[in-house]
Protein backbone atom coordinates (compact mmCIF):
# COMPACT_ATOMS: atom_id res chain seq x y z
CA UNK A 1 0.00 0.00 0.00
CA UNK A 2 2.59 2.49 1.13
CA UNK A 3 4.92 1.30 -1.63
CA UNK A 4 2.22 1.87 -4.19
CA UNK A 5 1.66 5.44 -3.04
CA UNK A 6 5.37 6.16 -3.04
CA UNK A 7 5.69 4.74 -6.53
CA UNK A 8 2.91 7.02 -7.71
CA UNK A 9 4.91 10.02 -6.61
CA UNK A 10 3.95 10.59 -2.97
CA UNK A 11 6.24 11.64 -0.19
CA UNK A 12 7.36 8.50 1.65
CA UNK A 13 6.40 9.67 5.14
CA UNK A 14 3.03 10.98 4.07
CA UNK A 15 2.32 7.75 2.20
CA UNK A 16 3.19 5.80 5.31
CA UNK A 17 0.75 7.83 7.39
CA UNK A 18 -2.06 7.60 4.84
CA UNK A 19 -1.59 3.85 4.57
CA UNK A 20 -1.66 3.54 8.35
CA UNK A 21 -4.84 5.58 8.63
CA UNK A 22 -6.58 3.48 6.00
CA UNK A 23 -5.42 0.26 7.61
CA UNK A 24 -6.59 1.44 11.01
CA UNK A 25 -10.01 2.41 9.70
CA UNK A 26 -10.49 -0.92 7.95
CA UNK A 27 -9.36 -2.93 10.96
CA UNK A 28 -11.42 -0.95 13.46
CA UNK A 29 -14.51 -1.05 11.27
CA UNK A 30 -14.14 -4.79 11.04
CA UNK A 31 -14.62 -4.90 14.79
CA UNK A 32 -17.72 -2.72 14.68
CA UNK A 33 -19.28 -4.53 11.73
CA UNK A 34 -18.66 -7.83 13.41
CA UNK A 35 -20.91 -6.79 16.33
CA UNK A 36 -23.89 -6.50 14.01
CA UNK A 37 -23.41 -10.08 12.98
CA UNK A 38 -22.52 -11.35 16.44
CA UNK A 39 -25.61 -9.83 18.04
CA UNK A 40 -27.76 -11.67 15.51
CA UNK A 41 -25.79 -14.86 16.09
CA UNK A 42 -26.11 -14.52 19.83
CA UNK A 43 -29.87 -13.99 19.70
CA UNK A 44 -30.39 -16.90 17.36
CA UNK A 45 -28.26 -19.11 19.54
CA UNK A 46 -30.04 -18.04 22.74
CA UNK A 47 -33.31 -18.75 20.99
CA UNK A 48 -32.25 -22.26 20.09
CA UNK A 49 -30.98 -23.01 23.59
CA UNK A 50 -34.22 -21.79 25.11
CA UNK A 51 -36.36 -23.60 22.56
CA UNK A 52 -37.47 -20.46 20.75
CA UNK A 53 -36.94 -19.24 17.22
CA UNK A 54 -35.10 -16.03 17.89
CA UNK A 55 -35.43 -13.03 15.59
CA UNK A 56 -37.07 -14.16 12.34
CA UNK A 57 -39.19 -11.30 11.01
CA UNK A 58 -36.84 -8.75 9.53
CA UNK A 59 -35.11 -10.12 6.49
CA UNK A 60 -34.09 -13.71 5.85
CA UNK A 61 -33.61 -15.49 9.21
CA UNK A 62 -34.05 -12.14 10.91
CA UNK A 63 -30.65 -11.00 9.66
CA UNK A 64 -31.68 -7.36 9.49
CA UNK A 65 -32.97 -7.25 13.06
CA UNK A 66 -29.81 -5.55 14.30
CA UNK A 67 -30.03 -2.84 11.64
CA UNK A 68 -33.59 -2.15 12.76
CA UNK A 69 -32.35 -1.90 16.34
CA UNK A 70 -29.65 0.56 15.35
CA UNK A 71 -32.24 2.64 13.56
CA UNK A 72 -34.42 2.66 16.63
CA UNK A 73 -31.52 3.61 18.89
CA UNK A 74 -30.59 6.53 16.64
CA UNK A 75 -33.94 8.22 17.20
CA UNK A 76 -34.14 7.50 20.94
CA UNK A 77 -34.04 10.48 23.23
CA UNK A 78 -30.79 10.74 25.09
CA UNK A 79 -31.28 11.84 28.69
CA UNK A 80 -28.44 13.37 30.63
CA UNK A 81 -29.21 13.27 34.33
CA UNK A 82 -29.10 16.40 36.41
CA UNK A 83 -25.82 16.96 38.19
CA UNK A 84 -23.94 14.71 35.83
CA UNK A 85 -20.38 15.63 34.97
CA UNK A 86 -21.22 16.28 31.31
CA UNK A 87 -17.88 15.86 29.57
CA UNK A 88 -16.91 12.75 31.46
CA UNK A 89 -20.43 11.39 31.10
CA UNK A 90 -20.27 11.74 27.32
CA UNK A 91 -16.73 10.48 27.05
CA UNK A 92 -17.16 7.26 29.04
CA UNK A 93 -19.11 5.21 26.43
CA UNK A 94 -16.65 6.25 23.71
CA UNK A 95 -13.72 5.14 25.82
CA UNK A 96 -15.46 1.87 26.63
CA UNK A 97 -15.70 0.96 22.95
CA UNK A 98 -12.33 2.43 21.99
CA UNK A 99 -10.51 0.48 24.68
CA UNK A 100 -11.84 -2.79 23.29
CA UNK A 101 -11.44 -1.97 19.60
CA UNK A 102 -7.84 -0.97 20.22
CA UNK A 103 -7.05 -4.60 21.01
CA UNK A 104 -7.58 -5.43 17.32
CA UNK A 105 -4.42 -3.51 16.49
CA UNK A 106 -2.16 -6.37 17.60
CA UNK A 107 -4.20 -9.39 16.53
CA UNK A 108 -2.50 -11.42 13.80
CA UNK A 109 -5.07 -12.77 11.36
CA UNK A 110 -2.39 -14.54 9.36
CA UNK A 111 1.34 -14.23 8.97
CA UNK A 112 1.04 -10.88 7.17
CA UNK A 113 -2.31 -9.46 8.22
CA UNK A 114 -1.51 -7.84 11.49
CA UNK A 115 -2.01 -4.21 12.42
CA UNK A 116 1.23 -3.81 14.32
CA UNK A 117 3.30 -6.73 15.47
CA UNK A 118 4.57 -5.09 18.65
CA UNK A 119 7.24 -6.83 20.67
CA UNK A 120 5.09 -6.13 23.73
CA UNK A 121 1.84 -7.21 22.05
CA UNK A 122 0.59 -9.32 24.94
CA UNK A 123 1.09 -6.55 27.46
CA UNK A 124 -0.43 -4.08 25.05
CA UNK A 125 -3.78 -5.76 25.01
CA UNK A 126 -3.84 -6.10 28.79
CA UNK A 127 -2.92 -2.44 29.16
CA UNK A 128 -5.51 -1.29 26.66
CA UNK A 129 -8.07 -3.48 28.36
CA UNK A 130 -7.49 -1.49 31.52
CA UNK A 131 -8.73 1.59 29.65
CA UNK A 132 -12.11 -0.13 29.40
CA UNK A 133 -12.04 -0.60 33.16
CA UNK A 134 -11.41 3.09 33.46
CA UNK A 135 -14.45 3.78 31.28
CA UNK A 136 -16.64 1.93 33.77
CA UNK A 137 -15.25 4.05 36.57
CA UNK A 138 -15.87 7.26 34.63
CA UNK A 139 -19.43 6.23 33.77
CA UNK A 140 -20.25 5.29 37.33
CA UNK A 141 -18.82 8.42 38.82
CA UNK A 142 -20.12 10.97 36.34
CA UNK A 143 -23.74 9.77 36.46
CA UNK A 144 -24.27 11.32 39.89
CA UNK A 145 -26.25 8.32 41.02
CA UNK A 146 -25.65 6.14 44.08
CA UNK A 147 -26.44 2.93 42.27
CA UNK A 148 -24.24 3.77 39.33
CA UNK A 149 -21.30 4.50 41.61
CA UNK A 150 -21.91 1.41 43.67
CA UNK A 151 -22.25 -0.71 40.55
CA UNK A 152 -19.08 0.75 39.07
CA UNK A 153 -17.13 0.02 42.22
CA UNK A 154 -18.10 -3.56 42.52
CA UNK A 155 -17.58 -4.05 38.81
CA UNK A 156 -14.08 -2.64 39.07
CA UNK A 157 -13.24 -4.65 42.15
CA UNK A 158 -14.27 -7.77 40.23
CA UNK A 159 -12.53 -6.85 36.95
CA UNK A 160 -9.34 -5.89 38.67
CA UNK A 161 -9.31 -9.10 40.70
CA UNK A 162 -9.71 -11.32 37.67
CA UNK A 163 -6.90 -9.52 35.90
CA UNK A 164 -4.41 -11.19 38.26
CA UNK A 165 -4.94 -14.85 37.24
CA UNK A 166 -5.35 -13.67 33.66
CA UNK A 167 -1.89 -12.15 33.57
CA UNK A 168 -0.30 -14.99 35.53
CA UNK A 169 -1.63 -17.53 33.06
CA UNK A 170 -0.69 -15.25 30.18
CA UNK A 171 2.94 -15.42 31.28
CA UNK A 172 2.95 -19.13 30.40
CA UNK A 173 2.58 -18.85 26.60
CA UNK A 174 5.00 -15.92 26.68
CA UNK A 175 7.48 -18.11 28.50
CA UNK A 176 7.01 -21.03 26.12
CA UNK A 177 7.32 -18.89 23.01
CA UNK A 178 10.06 -16.71 24.47
CA UNK A 179 8.41 -13.58 23.12
CA UNK A 180 5.57 -11.20 23.85
CA UNK A 181 4.79 -10.58 20.21
CA UNK A 182 1.50 -12.19 19.24
CA UNK A 183 2.96 -13.27 15.91
CA UNK A 184 5.85 -15.09 17.58
CA UNK A 185 3.48 -16.83 19.97
CA UNK A 186 1.48 -18.14 17.03
CA UNK A 187 4.66 -19.23 15.27
CA UNK A 188 5.79 -21.08 18.39
CA UNK A 189 2.69 -23.24 18.37
CA UNK A 190 3.56 -26.18 16.18
CA UNK A 191 1.62 -27.92 18.90
CA UNK A 192 -1.23 -25.67 20.02
CA UNK A 193 -0.63 -24.58 23.60
CA UNK A 194 -3.97 -25.88 24.73
CA UNK A 195 -2.51 -29.37 24.34
CA UNK A 196 0.63 -28.30 26.17
CA UNK A 197 -0.66 -26.17 29.03
CA UNK A 198 -4.42 -26.76 29.26
CA UNK A 199 -4.61 -25.45 32.83
CA UNK A 200 -3.27 -22.05 31.79
CA UNK A 201 -5.68 -21.99 28.87
CA UNK A 202 -8.59 -22.74 31.18
CA UNK A 203 -7.59 -20.10 33.73
CA UNK A 204 -7.12 -17.57 30.96
CA UNK A 205 -10.51 -18.36 29.48
CA UNK A 206 -12.34 -18.20 32.81
CA UNK A 207 -10.76 -14.95 33.87
CA UNK A 208 -11.35 -13.38 30.48
CA UNK A 209 -14.98 -14.43 30.74
CA UNK A 210 -15.12 -12.53 34.02
CA UNK A 211 -13.41 -9.53 32.42
CA UNK A 212 -16.15 -9.33 29.83
CA UNK A 213 -18.83 -9.70 32.44
CA UNK A 214 -20.45 -12.63 30.76
CA UNK A 215 -22.47 -15.19 32.64
CA UNK A 216 -21.77 -16.77 35.09
CA UNK A 217 -19.86 -13.63 36.07
CA UNK A 218 -22.35 -11.06 34.81
CA UNK A 219 -22.55 -9.13 38.05
CA UNK A 220 -21.57 -5.96 36.25
CA UNK A 221 -25.06 -5.80 34.84
CA UNK A 222 -26.89 -7.63 37.58
CA UNK A 223 -30.34 -6.27 36.80
CA UNK A 224 -32.02 -8.03 39.68
CA UNK A 225 -29.58 -6.84 42.31
CA UNK A 226 -28.33 -3.34 41.63
CA UNK A 227 -30.65 -2.30 38.81
CA UNK A 228 -28.03 -2.64 36.10
CA UNK A 229 -24.96 -1.10 37.70
CA UNK A 230 -22.64 1.54 36.31
CA UNK A 231 -24.62 2.26 33.12
CA UNK A 232 -27.96 2.85 34.83
CA UNK A 233 -28.29 6.51 33.85
CA UNK A 234 -27.36 5.97 30.23
CA UNK A 235 -29.95 5.86 27.50
CA UNK A 236 -30.18 5.78 23.73
CA UNK A 237 -27.01 5.47 21.70
CA UNK A 238 -24.68 5.94 24.65
CA UNK A 239 -26.16 2.97 26.42
CA UNK A 240 -25.91 1.04 23.18
CA UNK A 241 -22.19 1.82 23.09
CA UNK A 242 -21.64 0.07 26.41
CA UNK A 243 -23.58 -2.83 25.05
CA UNK A 244 -21.57 -2.83 21.84
CA UNK A 245 -18.37 -2.77 23.90
CA UNK A 246 -19.50 -5.89 25.72
CA UNK A 247 -20.26 -7.70 22.48
CA UNK A 248 -16.95 -6.84 20.86
CA UNK A 249 -15.13 -7.76 24.02
CA UNK A 250 -16.88 -11.12 24.13
CA UNK A 251 -15.65 -11.80 20.63
CA UNK A 252 -12.18 -10.40 21.26
CA UNK A 253 -11.59 -12.79 24.13
CA UNK A 254 -12.46 -15.64 21.76
CA UNK A 255 -9.97 -14.37 19.20
CA UNK A 256 -7.32 -13.97 21.88
CA UNK A 257 -7.93 -17.48 23.18
CA UNK A 258 -7.74 -18.80 19.63
CA UNK A 259 -4.45 -17.02 19.02
CA UNK A 260 -2.70 -17.60 22.31
CA UNK A 261 -3.77 -21.17 22.95
CA UNK A 262 -5.38 -22.69 19.87
CA UNK A 263 -2.61 -22.00 17.41
CA UNK A 264 -4.01 -18.89 15.76
CA UNK A 265 -3.77 -19.06 11.98
CA UNK A 266 -1.86 -22.33 11.98
CA UNK A 267 -3.26 -25.74 11.25
CA UNK A 268 -4.08 -27.85 8.19
CA UNK A 269 -1.47 -26.06 6.16
CA UNK A 270 -3.10 -22.69 6.74
CA UNK A 271 -0.84 -19.72 7.09
CA UNK A 272 1.77 -21.05 4.70
CA UNK A 273 2.70 -18.44 2.14
CA UNK A 274 0.03 -18.47 -0.53
CA UNK A 275 -2.71 -19.49 1.90
CA UNK A 276 -3.23 -16.13 3.60
CA UNK A 277 -6.99 -16.15 3.29
CA UNK A 278 -7.17 -19.68 4.65
CA UNK A 279 -5.17 -18.51 7.67
CA UNK A 280 -7.66 -15.73 8.27
CA UNK A 281 -10.56 -18.19 8.01
CA UNK A 282 -8.73 -20.47 10.42
CA UNK A 283 -8.57 -17.74 13.06
CA UNK A 284 -12.22 -16.90 12.55
CA UNK A 285 -13.30 -20.54 12.70
CA UNK A 286 -11.42 -21.16 15.90
CA UNK A 287 -12.76 -17.92 17.37
CA UNK A 288 -16.34 -18.73 16.49
CA UNK A 289 -15.93 -22.17 18.01
CA UNK A 290 -14.81 -20.57 21.28
CA UNK A 291 -17.61 -18.04 20.92
CA UNK A 292 -20.13 -20.87 20.70
CA UNK A 293 -18.79 -22.11 24.02
CA UNK A 294 -19.15 -18.63 25.53
CA UNK A 295 -22.75 -18.40 24.30
CA UNK A 296 -23.55 -21.86 25.58
CA UNK A 297 -22.17 -20.99 29.01
CA UNK A 298 -24.08 -17.74 29.00
CA UNK A 299 -27.39 -19.38 28.24
CA UNK A 300 -27.11 -22.33 30.58
CA UNK A 301 -25.32 -21.27 33.77
CA UNK A 302 -26.94 -19.16 36.49
CA UNK A 303 -25.24 -16.05 37.85
CA UNK A 304 -23.02 -16.58 40.86
CA UNK A 305 -22.98 -14.36 43.93
CA UNK A 306 -20.36 -11.65 44.13
CA UNK A 307 -18.73 -12.97 47.30
CA UNK A 308 -18.47 -16.39 45.70
CA UNK A 309 -17.03 -14.81 42.59
CA UNK A 310 -14.32 -13.01 44.54
CA UNK A 311 -13.56 -16.01 46.70
CA UNK A 312 -13.29 -18.21 43.61
CA UNK A 313 -10.78 -15.81 42.15
CA UNK A 314 -8.56 -15.08 45.11
CA UNK A 315 -8.74 -18.41 46.88
CA UNK A 316 -8.73 -20.74 43.92
CA UNK A 317 -7.70 -19.20 40.61
CA UNK A 318 -4.80 -17.05 41.85
CA UNK A 319 -3.13 -19.77 43.95
CA UNK A 320 -3.69 -22.26 41.14
CA UNK A 321 -2.16 -19.97 38.55
CA UNK A 322 0.83 -19.30 40.84
CA UNK A 323 1.40 -23.04 41.27
CA UNK A 324 0.86 -23.56 37.56
CA UNK A 325 3.46 -20.91 36.76
CA UNK A 326 6.01 -22.48 39.11
CA UNK A 327 5.43 -25.96 37.69
CA UNK A 328 5.76 -24.83 34.09
CA UNK A 329 8.78 -22.72 35.01
CA UNK A 330 10.79 -25.67 36.26
CA UNK A 331 9.58 -28.35 33.88
CA UNK A 332 9.85 -26.46 30.60
CA UNK A 333 13.47 -25.31 30.90
CA UNK A 334 15.26 -28.60 30.09
CA UNK A 335 13.05 -29.14 27.05
CA UNK A 336 13.40 -25.89 25.18
CA UNK A 337 12.70 -26.89 21.56
CA UNK A 338 15.73 -26.96 19.33
CA UNK A 339 14.26 -26.32 15.91
CA UNK A 340 17.54 -26.65 14.03
CA UNK A 341 18.32 -30.05 15.54
CA UNK A 342 14.81 -31.29 14.81
CA UNK A 343 15.10 -30.18 11.23
CA UNK A 344 18.39 -32.02 10.91
CA UNK A 345 16.84 -35.15 12.42
CA UNK A 346 13.94 -34.98 10.00
CA UNK A 347 16.33 -34.51 7.11
CA UNK A 348 18.30 -37.54 8.30
CA UNK A 349 15.22 -39.68 7.79
CA UNK A 350 14.25 -42.71 9.86
CA UNK A 351 11.37 -42.54 12.32
CA UNK A 352 11.86 -38.83 12.97
CA UNK A 353 11.86 -38.27 9.23
CA UNK A 354 8.58 -40.13 8.87
CA UNK A 355 6.80 -38.15 11.58
CA UNK A 356 8.50 -34.95 10.52
CA UNK A 357 7.18 -35.28 7.00
CA UNK A 358 3.65 -35.68 8.39
CA UNK A 359 3.58 -33.07 11.14
CA UNK A 360 6.49 -30.80 10.29
CA UNK A 361 9.82 -30.47 12.04
CA UNK A 362 8.50 -27.89 14.53
CA UNK A 363 6.18 -30.55 15.88
CA UNK A 364 9.10 -32.91 16.50
CA UNK A 365 11.05 -30.13 18.22
CA UNK A 366 8.24 -29.25 20.59
CA UNK A 367 7.06 -32.79 21.28
CA UNK A 368 9.16 -33.63 24.40
CA UNK A 369 8.23 -30.41 26.16
CA UNK A 370 4.59 -30.84 25.24
CA UNK A 371 4.44 -34.37 26.64
CA UNK A 372 6.10 -33.44 29.93
CA UNK A 373 3.97 -30.36 30.45
CA UNK A 374 0.77 -32.13 29.45
CA UNK A 375 1.33 -34.85 32.04
CA UNK A 376 2.08 -32.24 34.71
CA UNK A 377 -1.00 -30.29 33.73
CA UNK A 378 -3.26 -33.32 33.89
CA UNK A 379 -1.97 -34.07 37.39
CA UNK A 380 -2.51 -30.45 38.43
CA UNK A 381 -5.97 -30.41 36.96
CA UNK A 382 -6.92 -33.61 38.76
CA UNK A 383 -5.61 -32.26 42.06
CA UNK A 384 -7.43 -28.95 41.63
CA UNK A 385 -10.77 -30.53 40.81
CA UNK A 386 -10.34 -32.95 43.71
CA UNK A 387 -9.72 -29.96 45.99
CA UNK A 388 -12.85 -28.24 44.74
CA UNK A 389 -14.84 -31.43 45.17
CA UNK A 390 -13.72 -31.83 48.78
CA UNK A 391 -14.51 -28.21 49.49
CA UNK A 392 -17.97 -28.57 48.06
CA UNK A 393 -18.60 -31.61 50.23
CA UNK A 394 -17.49 -29.90 53.43
CA UNK A 395 -19.64 -26.89 52.61
CA UNK A 396 -22.65 -29.09 52.00
CA UNK A 397 -22.00 -30.94 55.25
CA UNK A 398 -21.83 -27.59 57.05
CA UNK A 399 -25.21 -26.65 55.67
CA UNK A 400 -26.61 -29.96 56.90
CA UNK A 401 -27.40 -31.22 53.46
CA UNK A 402 -26.81 -34.94 53.65
CA UNK A 403 -27.91 -36.97 50.73
CA UNK A 404 -27.49 -34.67 47.81
CA UNK A 405 -26.30 -36.55 44.81
CA UNK A 406 -24.86 -34.45 42.05
CA UNK A 407 -27.36 -34.18 39.23
CA UNK A 408 -26.18 -36.45 36.49
CA UNK A 409 -27.19 -36.56 32.89
CA UNK A 410 -28.38 -40.14 33.24
CA UNK A 411 -30.68 -39.21 36.11
CA UNK A 412 -32.16 -36.45 33.97
CA UNK A 413 -32.69 -38.79 31.09
CA UNK A 414 -34.49 -41.40 33.17
CA UNK A 415 -37.12 -38.90 34.38
Amino acid sequence: MAEFLVSSGWNANLAQIVASVLGAVVLASFGLVWIIFSIWLERKFAGRVQDRLGPNRTGPYGLFQTFADVGKLLIKEDITPEGADKHIYNFAPILAVAGIIAIFAVIPFNHVWVGADLNVGVLYFVAVGSLATLAILLAGWSSNNKYALLGAFRAIAALVSYEVPMMLSLAVPVLLAGSMSMQDIVKGQSIAYIFVVPVSALIFFISQLAEVGRSPFDLIEAESEIIAGFNIEYSGMKFAMFYAAEFIHAFVICVLTAILFLGGWRGLGAGEPGYELFGFLMVMMKSVAVYALVMLIRNTLPRIRIDHMMAFNWKFLVPLSLVNLLVVMFLARPFVPDYAAAEAAVAAGGLAGLFGSIFGSGFIAELPRAVVLLVANVIMFAAATQLLHRYGETQRAKLGVKDVQPVRATAMASD
Partner: protein, 119 residues
Protein backbone atom coordinates in the same frame (compact mmCIF):
# COMPACT_ATOMS: atom_id res chain seq x y z
CA UNK B 1 11.92 0.34 18.41
CA UNK B 2 9.77 -0.08 15.33
CA UNK B 3 8.63 3.53 14.89
CA UNK B 4 6.15 2.74 12.14
CA UNK B 5 4.38 0.15 14.22
CA UNK B 6 3.95 2.59 17.06
CA UNK B 7 2.80 5.25 14.65
CA UNK B 8 0.15 2.79 13.54
CA UNK B 9 -0.85 2.16 17.15
CA UNK B 10 -1.21 5.88 17.75
CA UNK B 11 -3.33 6.33 14.65
CA UNK B 12 -5.35 3.27 15.54
CA UNK B 13 -6.11 4.65 19.01
CA UNK B 14 -7.35 7.89 17.49
CA UNK B 15 -9.51 6.04 14.97
CA UNK B 16 -10.82 3.80 17.74
CA UNK B 17 -11.87 6.92 19.64
CA UNK B 18 -13.53 8.53 16.62
CA UNK B 19 -15.49 5.51 15.39
CA UNK B 20 -17.82 5.11 18.40
CA UNK B 21 -18.23 8.88 18.57
CA UNK B 22 -19.83 8.89 15.12
CA UNK B 23 -23.07 7.05 15.98
CA UNK B 24 -23.40 9.04 19.18
CA UNK B 25 -23.05 12.24 17.20
CA UNK B 26 -25.58 10.99 14.62
CA UNK B 27 -28.02 10.13 17.38
CA UNK B 28 -27.47 13.59 18.80
CA UNK B 29 -28.65 15.03 15.46
CA UNK B 30 -31.62 12.74 14.98
CA UNK B 31 -33.11 12.20 18.39
CA UNK B 32 -35.87 14.26 19.99
CA UNK B 33 -34.90 16.55 22.83
CA UNK B 34 -37.65 17.21 25.32
CA UNK B 35 -35.93 17.56 28.66
CA UNK B 36 -38.03 17.83 31.75
CA UNK B 37 -37.30 18.05 35.42
CA UNK B 38 -38.72 14.63 36.18
CA UNK B 39 -36.82 12.95 33.40
CA UNK B 40 -33.47 14.23 34.49
CA UNK B 41 -33.69 13.16 38.08
CA UNK B 42 -31.38 10.43 39.23
CA UNK B 43 -33.04 7.08 38.64
CA UNK B 44 -33.61 5.23 41.88
CA UNK B 45 -36.59 3.07 41.05
CA UNK B 46 -38.97 5.97 41.47
CA UNK B 47 -37.91 6.89 44.99
CA UNK B 48 -36.86 10.47 45.60
CA UNK B 49 -33.11 10.85 45.89
CA UNK B 50 -31.79 11.53 49.36
CA UNK B 51 -28.43 13.22 49.76
CA UNK B 52 -25.84 13.28 47.03
CA UNK B 53 -24.43 10.36 45.14
CA UNK B 54 -21.34 10.06 47.28
CA UNK B 55 -22.00 7.20 49.58
CA UNK B 56 -19.46 5.92 52.04
CA UNK B 57 -17.60 2.90 50.71
CA UNK B 58 -16.21 -0.04 52.57
CA UNK B 59 -12.46 -0.35 52.95
CA UNK B 60 -12.78 -3.76 51.31
CA UNK B 61 -12.68 -2.21 47.86
CA UNK B 62 -9.37 -0.62 48.69
CA UNK B 63 -7.91 -3.89 49.89
CA UNK B 64 -8.80 -5.67 46.65
CA UNK B 65 -7.25 -2.90 44.59
CA UNK B 66 -4.20 -3.03 46.85
CA UNK B 67 -3.58 -6.75 46.37
CA UNK B 68 -4.15 -6.27 42.65
CA UNK B 69 -1.57 -3.47 42.54
CA UNK B 70 1.06 -5.65 44.15
CA UNK B 71 0.45 -8.47 41.67
CA UNK B 72 0.39 -5.98 38.82
CA UNK B 73 3.86 -4.83 39.75
CA UNK B 74 4.94 -8.44 39.73
CA UNK B 75 4.14 -8.52 36.01
CA UNK B 76 6.76 -5.82 35.50
CA UNK B 77 9.40 -8.41 36.40
CA UNK B 78 7.65 -11.55 35.29
CA UNK B 79 7.19 -10.65 31.63
CA UNK B 80 10.76 -9.64 30.71
CA UNK B 81 11.89 -12.69 32.59
CA UNK B 82 9.48 -14.88 30.60
CA UNK B 83 10.75 -13.40 27.35
CA UNK B 84 14.32 -14.20 28.29
CA UNK B 85 13.31 -17.60 29.69
CA UNK B 86 14.94 -19.74 27.02
CA UNK B 87 18.37 -18.31 27.79
CA UNK B 88 18.25 -18.38 31.56
CA UNK B 89 20.05 -20.76 33.85
CA UNK B 90 18.85 -22.52 36.97
CA UNK B 91 19.88 -19.61 39.18
CA UNK B 92 17.52 -17.22 37.41
CA UNK B 93 14.73 -19.77 37.66
CA UNK B 94 15.23 -20.15 41.40
CA UNK B 95 15.32 -16.38 41.83
CA UNK B 96 12.02 -15.93 40.02
CA UNK B 97 10.54 -18.83 41.97
CA UNK B 98 11.62 -17.03 45.12
CA UNK B 99 10.01 -13.84 43.88
CA UNK B 100 6.73 -15.59 43.10
CA UNK B 101 6.98 -17.46 46.38
CA UNK B 102 7.36 -14.27 48.41
CA UNK B 103 4.29 -12.84 46.75
CA UNK B 104 2.51 -16.12 47.41
CA UNK B 105 3.30 -15.67 51.09
CA UNK B 106 1.90 -12.15 50.91
CA UNK B 107 -1.25 -13.58 49.36
CA UNK B 108 -1.55 -16.15 52.14
CA UNK B 109 -1.13 -13.37 54.70
CA UNK B 110 -3.88 -11.33 53.07
CA UNK B 111 -6.06 -14.42 53.01
CA UNK B 112 -5.47 -15.13 56.70
CA UNK B 113 -6.12 -11.51 57.64
CA UNK B 114 -9.44 -11.64 55.83
CA UNK B 115 -8.48 -8.99 53.32
CA UNK B 116 -9.91 -11.16 50.57
CA UNK B 117 -13.36 -11.59 52.09
CA UNK B 118 -16.28 -9.80 50.51
CA UNK B 119 -18.18 -8.42 53.47
Amino acid sequence: MQPNEWLFIGIFLIVALILPAVPIFLAQLLNPKRPSKMKQEAYECGVETVGDAWVQFKVQYYLYALVFLIFDIEMLFLFPWAVAYNQLGLFALVMMAGFVGILGIALIYAWRKGALEWL
